[in-house]
Structures are given as C-alpha cells and as structure tokens.
C-alpha cells in the first residue's frame, strides 16, 4: 500500500513536469507583451523596453525556462508581473473562495445526485428515470452563465433572498459566508448533478444486472437493502471516479461562475492573469490546478482500496 502511494506520487512528477513544459511553451510562444501592459496606456516604447529587461523577458526562452524551473524545484513559483507579489501568496489569497465553492458544490451535488441516480436505476425505464435522464441532458446543455443569470434574477432580485454577488470570508461569520455561496454552488451543481446522477444510474443499473443481486433477492432481502448494500456498494468505484473527473470540469465551471458572481477566486485570477499576460501567475495557477487534479485522482485511486476489497496495490 505504502509502496503504491509512493509509486503513484512519484508517477505524478513526470506528469507535472510535462504540464510545466507545456504551459511554459504555450505562454512564451505567444504574442502579447506583458511589459507593454504593465507600462500603461501612455508609456513610450523606450519605457516598455526597460520594463521588459527588468522582467527578464529579453532573455532567450530557454534561459527563461531554466530560471523558472530552477525556482520551481525549490517551490518558488516566482513573482507576478502584474501584481508584484509572490504567485504562491496570490494563490493562497484566492484559494479560500474557490475551495469553498468547489467543496460546497461537490457536497451538494453528491448528496442530491446519488440518491436520484439509484432510484432512477431501480425504476429503470419508468417516469422517474425518464424525468431524471431528461433533466440530466438538460443540465449538460444549458450554459452555466445563462443559468447563473436566471437564478440571480429570480432568487436575488425578484425574491430578494440572497445577495446578488460577492464573497464573504468564513472569518466574517458562517451565515454570510454560506449566504454568498449558495447561489453560485447551485449554479455550478446543476451540471454535476447531471453528470453524477447519470453515472450513478448507469453503474447501479449495471450492478443490478449482476448475479449477486439475484442472490441478494433470493436471500429474501428488502429492496432497500438490495439497492444500497449490494447495488450501490458495488457501483461506488465508477461514481467516485466520475467525481474525480468532475474536479477538472469543476475548475472550468468555477472560472465562469466566479466571473458572474464576482467571487475573487482562482478562476477569476486565471482569466485576469491571461488577459494581463501575467506569465508567472498563469503558470503558477495552471500548475496548481494540475496538481489538484493529479492529487484528487490519486485520492480517488486510493479510495478504490476501501470501496472494493478486490483492488490491492
């Protein structure tokens, strides 16, 4: 087991290295000059050139890459061109909102979608199943921002139940914190509920077709027991897997949701950094997201051991 964890952690190193190289090349081979942006609208060409030198952008790409990687291995993500503070600090500042949003979303989605999926599988082909599948396809098809606008308009403006925008830190009190997160989380959850409910339904459906379900019924167990202890327990691996995959999707959704609800999270940071050509920040954030993705998938892999005793590493 420990052996496996060590091996898996080591295996993430080349993945992250590839991410690092890809991201770096992606950025440095592009047009757009961060120095010109920093200098402001009325800056002269000479001023821009001097800023470029001060940022080290005049060096050959390979040298820039070497310097960056050199810092990276010591855990230094560099300093933001745009904000002039350490990228690591910047990420730390923006982490709480994004983490809160993501956690609440996943929590809410799982709590809602797994029971729905199980019931749909149990009543396969019935009206509930059809309705859920219909909703699920709809959930995949509505752009996140359209949904966000509709929700804001109804819930916040017309009904006045929740704030229209913004984020309150958990340190400012739990209720305001939650109040500001409810709407964004629901917005973001829809696609997840759709996704997880689909997978839950499909995998529960699959395990319902297995022999051990017939055995469980032949034992005279109640349907609820059959569904939860036998069907769902065996369907757990794909469900957990899709939650892991969903993290990647979530990051995409976060970018949009944070934009609409004015949440100062990592998604906004990315968009701002891209628009400002703030290379160190973009590199740092993408690397961070990749790390999260890889880490979550590692956890998912490890969770298999607990979900399915047949899996041993």
């Amino acid at each position: 087991m420990l052996n496996f964890i060590a091996r898996r952690i080591l295996a993430t190193v080349p993945v992250l290295a590839i991410v690092a190289v890809l991201v770096f090349l992606l950025l440095r081979l592009t047009p757009g000059d961060p120095a010109a942006i920093l200098a402001g609208d009325a800056a002269s060409a000479d001023q821009i050139a001097r800023i470029r030198i001060s940022l080290g952008l005049d060096q050959p790409i390979i040298v820039q890459f070497g310097i960056w990687i050199g810092h990276l291995v010591t855990g230094d993500l560099g300093e933001s061109f745009y904000y002039k503070i350490q990228v690591a600090d910047l990420i730390a500042q923006r982490l709480e909102p994004t983490l809160s949003l993501a956690t609440l979303t996943i929590l809410f989605s799982v709590l809602v979608s797994v029971p729905l999926g199980v019931i749909a599988a149990w009543r396969f082909g019935g009206w509930f199943d059809r309705a859920l599948m219909g909703f699920s396809v709809m959930g995949f098809s509505i752009p996140v921002f359209v949904l966000a606008y509709i929700l804001i308009w109804i819930v916040s403006l017309k009904l006045g139940w929740l704030p229209v925008q913004g984020y309150k830190r958990i340190a400012d009190g739990f209720w305001p914190y939650l109040q500001h997160l409810i709407l964004p989380s629901i917005t973001l959850s829809v696609i997840f509920i759709a996704l997880i409910a689909r997978v839950t339904r499909a995998s529960v459906l699959e395990s319902l077709g297995e022999d051990y379900i017939r055995t469980a019924r032949a034992k005279g167990l109640r349907e609820s027991q059959v569904l939860i202890r036998h069907a769902l327990a065996n369907a757990a691996v794909p469900i957990v897997t899709v939650i892991g995959i969903g993290i990647a999707l979530l990051i995409g959704g976060v970018v949009v949701t944070e934009s609409v609800y004015a949440i100062p999270g990592l998604g906004r940071l990315t968009v701002d950094a891209v628009l400002a050509r703030d290379f160190p920040t973009i590199q740092g954030v993408i690397l961070f997201f990749s790390l999260v993705y890889v880490g979550v998938n590692l956890l998912v892999d490890l969770s298999y051991v607990f979900l399915d005793p047949r899996i041993r590493y």
Binding site: P31, P34, L157, G160
Partner: protein, 522 residues
C-alpha cells in the same frame, strides 16, 4: 475569574468588530488595481490610488485652474528662472515624519524621469534643492511656460510627493513602501489584488481651508474606511449590487445602465463636468496612413455623431467637439478644425480619390474587452468602408492591442494602421501634455509616430512661452498644423457617469480623476 477574562475578551472583540464597522464607503472602481506605484505606470487606477494616499504640491480645480495644495506660497524670479516654494505647516507622512523640501525634490526627480510632461519639464530644469525643511527651489535653464501646470497636473502621471527614501527608488522599479501624506492610509495587509483594496482615514491629515474643488481644496474625510471592490466587474452585477445596497458607488456606470439606474429608487446618477475625448490614432509609419492626404480623407469621413451615438448612445452624455484640446478648457478652440467639424462622406470620397489611395487595407485594431471604447473601431470601419477604404478589422483583447500598438513593424508583419482610445481631459488639454501631438517621427513618445517638424517647433515655442494670451495663439496654430498633418482624429467627448446610493453626498465630479475625499455617507 477565568470567566471574567473570557467576557472581557469577548467584549473587546465585539468592540473591535464595531470599530472596524465604522462608516465604510464601498466603491466599485472602474478597473482592477494592480500596480501601486502611480509614478511608475500611467494606469488611471494607480493614479486614483495615488490620490487616496498621497498629497500633491499643486492641484487643478473644477475650472481647470492650477491651485496650490501642499504649497503655502511661492515666488518666481524676474527672469522666470528661479522658483521658490514654501510648504504648508503641519504636513506629515503616515509614519509621523514631517514632509520636507528634501522629500519634494526627490519625488519630483523620480517623476521627472517617468512622466511625459515631467520629462519635458526636466529639459528646462537645471537643478532643484531644498534650502530649508519647509521649502524647495527649482532652477531653470530658460523660462518655462508650464511649470505650474506640470506640478498641478491632475492626471497620469501625477507628481505625488513621497518620502525621500521611497522616491529614491529607481524610476524603472516599482516602489514597495506606500507611505504618503494624503488623506487616506493604505491598509496594506488587507490589499488582495483582484479582490479588494482598503484605505483608512488618515486622522492626522490637516486639510486646507478652501472648499474641495477638482483635485484642490480641503481634503476632508467623513468616512472611516474606503473599500474598493476589485472583484465586482460584471456591469450587470454592479448595478444589481448597487440597487440592493450591497455597494455605495459605481465609479464607472455603463452607458447602457444610465437610464434605468436614473429611474431606480435609492440610487442617483451623477455626471462630471469635464468629459473624456475619444480618438482614433493613425500609424504614420506605414501605408496607407504614411501620407497626410489619406489620413485627411479618413478625418473627413469621421462624423463624430456617429461614433458618439453608437458608443455612448445616451444623448445627454456626449457632445461633438472637434478641438484637439478638451472643449471647455483654456486652449480649446475651433480654429483649423473644419475638416472634421464639417465632415462629409462626399468630401471624404473625393479626398481619397485625389490621394491616389491604392487599396492597401487598413489594419484597424479593436479591443474586445473594453466596453467604453469597443464600438469605436466598428463605426470607424463602417465609415471608412463607405468612404472607399479597404478595412481589415482585427479584434483582440486590450492587452494584446496595447502590446501590438508599440510595434513599429509593417501591418503585414504584426504591426498596425489604426486604433481608437479615450483620454481624460487633463491628459490632452494642453499642447505640452497631449501625447498625440508629439511629432518627432519614430522618436515620438506615443504610438503612431507622426513626423511634423513644424508642429514640433510650434510645441517647443509653446513650452517656452509664459504669456497666457500668446500661449492661446500658439495652441491655435498647433491645432491647425495638427489637422493639416492629421496626426489623429478626435471623435468627440463624453462624460462618464457615476452611480451612488441616495445616501451618498459630496462626491467630487470634476472629471479629472476619481477621488474619495469630501464624500459623506448618511
């Protein structure tokens, strides 16, 4: 006993909480604040940040007149070459240290390396010194006609006064000590880039007695804390938040929301007195705009009303103004503006034919992420097409545009022919600081690089002229020559409305800069 301590702590915490609440002014600025050095960058957000925490020697009042601010009094030698300034009493930095002439000299020195007008001024300055802690002197090589205008410059880059130790930072590196002597203190530990910036009332600040006007007068602070919400950038969300009272001020209300917000209860919409000017800039280095005839044909096609109606749309927020210097300011006039003031498509078509335009497409850059100027290139493109130009409208985000416009390469090699932008009045209202009139060919300070020796000569004379009447005449000549040369196309003026909650009063709507002293929240 323990319980008592707990209670005491709780009480203290509650009190602290209440204290922190205080009177908080929640502002949504027009953009993101990233750079905290207002001398290093020309970005307006950095300038506004500067006004919060720094004080200035002179200021510009609501009537565009230069008025002393930190300066108590000053004298000018008869040959106009020695200027002696005396500082007001009681000026102090946030750390308690008094503001001295040394600080001023260092601050002006750094500013003189960065700001276009500052650089121009420094060509006149022989040296500066501080004979006593409360005074400083400027020695000039020859008389200079815009010394006070430069020192009282209301917009980027403003000569803010910093402590000497900070001002000694290399002009090309950013400062990292934000000690000023202005009406607010920057709360550095609460600054979250892209999220919020926080300013606390500087309780030790001694305002002038005069009423606040423009960037001058008494900088009285009536709130305890100003919070800039940097995260709220979706304009619909901004308006929603203001309607729901989640914020107090929207610094830059979208034109599209002007009418609906004016009708909204609990909200009021303010219009500044001075407007901004739209302009389209030609690249003089490359065909087809390397020839004045072609540029003039484009000028003739540009009917300002079309731009203004499309971009602003609300009648009461815009007005055409053919002058290169903001209408309503001292040097504005209509001398030499006929080509644009009486634009006509027919004339444009004729001019273009006469010019022998060979059909070279015009690479017109359009910013996709700036609401305030995004529609200008579309209008320009449509008008130029109607006049007979071939137009290659290329959309890109503002940052790409900004880096691309710095390139002198041919349009086919990643360069450009034309872009549009907007200027606040104080940045263009004088022939000295109007960057678009710098006509030193490819040495020009601003993008487009017009080559106009005659224009350059006139500007040089203007800078040396100290007589106001003669300066006006020179400004007229400069404007005539600029239109002849067709350096750029002014596209008319608009005002940027500000929306506040009903309970907000005292917002200074000069149009010079966004400033937050004098604001009351009831």
């Amino acid at each position: 006993m323990n319980r008592n301590i707990v209670v005491a702590v709780l009480l203290a915490a509650a009190a602290g909480g209440a204290l922190a609440q205080g009177e908080v002014l929640r502002v949504v600025p027009h953009s993101n604040l990233s750079i905290l050095d207002p001398v290093w960058t020309t970005a307006y957000m950095s300038r506004n940040h500067g006004y919060m925490i720094y004080d200035t020697l002179f200021g510009t009042d609501g009537k565009s007149q230069i008025k002393p601010q930190m300066v108590e009094s000053w004298t000018e030698s008869p040959d106009h070459r020695l200027w002696t300034f005396k500082l007001r009493k009681g000026l102090a930095f946030h750390d308690g240290a008094p503001v001295t002439g040394e600080d001023v000299v260092a601050s002006l020195g750094r500013w003189g390396k960065r700001d276009a007008m500052g650089v121009a001024l420094m060509t006149f300055v022989e040296r500066m010194d501080s004979p006593s802690p409360d005074s400083f002197r400027i020695f000039l090589r020859e008389p200079c006609g815009f010394l006070l205008e430069a020192l009282g410059k209301p917009s980027s880059n403003v000569p803010f006064i910093m402590p000497k130790r900070v001002a000694e930072t290399d002009a090309f590196n950013q400062i990292d000590d934000y000690t000023g002597s202005g009406p607010y203190v920057f709360k550095r530990d609460e600054f979250k880039p892209g999220d919020r910036a926080v300013y606390l009332k500087n309780t030790k600040y001694k305002p002038r007695a005069e009423p606040a006007s423009g960037t001058t007068g008494g900088k009285n602070v009536y709130v305890d804390r100003v919070e800039w919400n940097l995260a709220l950038r979706d304009v619909q969300a901004q308006s929603n938040a203001l309607v729901k009272g989640e914020i107090d001020i929207i610094e830059s209300l979208a034109f599209d929301h002007y009418e609906s917000m004016s009708k909204e209860k609990g909200v009021k919409v303010l219009k500044p007195t001075l407007g901004l000017q739209y302009m389209c800039r030609f690249n003089h280095l490359h065909a087809p705009f390397n020839r004045a005839e072609v540029r003039r044909a484009a000028l003739a096609a540009f009917d300002q009303r079309q731009f203004l109606k499309a971009q602003v749309g609300v009648d009461e927020l815009y007005k055409p103004c053919a002058s290169m210097f903001t209408c309503g300011t001292p040097y504005a006039s209509d001398v030499g503006t006929e080509l644009q003031a009486r634009s006509s498509m027919r004339k444009a078509q004729d001019l273009l034919k006469q010019s022998g335009y060979d059909g070279t497409p015009v690479v017109l850059m359009k910013p996709t992420d700036l609401q305030s100027i995004g529609k200008l290139p579309d209008v320009a493109g449509q008008l130029m097409r109607q006049a007979g130009f071939k137009v290659d409208l290329q959309a890109m985000d503002w940052q790409t545009l900004v880096s691309r416009r710095a390139k002198k390469d041919a349009p086919s090699a990643g360069g450009w022919n034309m872009f549009c932008t907007a200027w606040v009045a104080p940045d263009i209202w004088s022939p000295v600081n109007n960057a678009a009139l710098d006509a030193r060919g490819d040495k020009s300070g601003w993008f487009g690089w017009p080559d106009g020796p005659k224009l350059q000569e006139l500007r040089s004379q203007f800078m040396r002229e100290t007589d106001e009447a003669k300066k006006k005449k020179l400004a007229e000549a400069i404007q005539t020559e600029a239109f002849q040369l067709a350096t750029h196309a002014p596209l008319g003026e608009y005002v940027q409305p500000v929306a506040t909650r009903q309970n907000i009063s005292g917002v200074i709507m000069s149009g010079l800069a966004n400033i937050y002293w004098n604001v009351k929240k009831n």
